[in-house]
Amino acid sequence: MVTSAPTTLDTAIWDVLRSVEDPELPISIVDLGLVRDVQVQDGRVAVRLIPTWVACPALAVIRARVRSALLALGGVQDATVEYTYDAPWTVDRLSERGRAQLASHGLSVPRCRFAEPPVCPYCGSRDVVQESMFGPTLCRATYLCRSCRNPFERFKPPA
């Protein structure tokens, strides 16, 4: 990690990363905690990302979006974007803002682990049943709330 004071380019790079959204979730990849680190040397940017799920079909889209956004930035000569496996993604990488955005999207998010008791994102009830561990995307499971009768989805981190 580079620990020196951030330059204007560093700040601009992080602003660009914050502008890239996950194609399957309405939040920035920075709030989702996908950015492992950023190295900048002589206008060459190397970004390492952490996949939430290794088989996620959005990975290639995210990589392409990050690269083209960086290349559009003045002062960036080249950009590489790689996925790294040296520290697995965990749910505590989500920012508070990311959590709030997912909640307002109707997605319940466990605090730390999938095994925690689920909470209905609409009424806050814990009287819920799991419909399926495998929802519309690899990172979501489906539930039914028995209190407010709403179906809902819950973020499913790797176990």
Partner: protein, 261 residues
């Protein structure tokens, strides 16, 4: 980014390590294809989506392993996945068998997932990054597959009359092929001597039987006795089920291997 192989100085160990990774990639690719055949045919909509997701995950895991190998070969992951002759694939027979009934697919899923957890633990302990980190990452994803199989097998075991008999027949069919997952070749010995592989296939097989036996007995099933392992897959010798599978799996890629997707 170079893969794990570049750091291995001894060419014999490097070749054996590549062989080991290729088995993993091929197992995932082939089972991913078989699971995907349930898309549109699952017993209920949730199970259909679940099996399709599991298929998607196994194919994605295969891709991640092929990318690791290709990074060292200087080649292309798609070509590695789709461009080889049948006898160059290293998956075990269990993964290529046709699905038949849902009960067979659930038994196979359960047996294979228990094997996968043990194998990923060995890769994670092999001391070679980035594949050790990849193995650790993937083992967290595989757990959900095992849970899905367990939910279904528990349900089928209680579905008298007929359920228990059908899953017993599925287990009897799958068992020799499942033992074939542990087929050992010269590559295993090389890796063991080099200290990369912390265990032998026979010790792994024993540990696996000790893990799955109580689970199978909980479903009311009897572990087949006296049935030997069906081997050959790790040496590129496959059953009649494989060539049609490979033809279908590679049909689009082979129509234009140079196409950019």
């Amino acid at each position: 980014m170079p893969g794990a192989l570049a750091a291995i100085a001894d060419p014999a160990v490097r070749a054996a390590y590549r062989e080991w990774l290729l088995r993993i990639a091929d197992d995932e690719l082939v089972i991913g294809h078989r699971h995907s055949e349930w898309t549109g045919f699952g017993p209920d909509i949730e199970s259909d989506v679940a099996m399709s997701s599991i298929a998607q995950e196994e194919l994605g895991h295969g891709r991640a392993w092929y990318e690791q190998i290709a990074a060292d070969d200087g080649g292309d992951a798609d070509r590695l996945a789709f461009g080889r002759a049948p006898d160059e694939y290293r998956h075990a027979a269990l993964l290529e068998q046709e699905n038949g009934g849902w009960e067979y697919s659930m038994i196979r899923l359960m047996l294979y997932e228990a094997f996968e957890i043990g194998r990923l633990r060995l890769v994670a302990a092999s001391g070679h990054e980035p594949v050790a980190g990849l193995a650790q990452t993937l083992s967290r994803e595989e757990r959900y597959h095992g849970l899905f199989a367990d939910t279904w097998l528990t349900r089928l075991a209680g579905a008298a009359p007929g359920g228990p008999e059908r899953i017993q027949a599925a287990l009897d069919r799958a068992w020799p092929d499942a033992l074939g997952l542990f087929e050992s070749t010269a590559a295993d010995e090389v890796l063991q001597r080099a200290g990369v592989l912390q265990s032998s296939p026979s010790a792994e097989r024993e540990a696996w039987v000790a893990t799955v036996r109580p689970v199978l007995e909980r479903y009311g099933l009897a572990v087949p006795s006296g049935a030997g392992a069906r081997e050959g897959g790790r040496r590129g010798v496959h059953t009649a089920a494989f060539e049609p599978l490979l033809a279908q799996l590679t049909e689009v890629w082979k129509s234009d291997p140079e196409a950019r997707w």
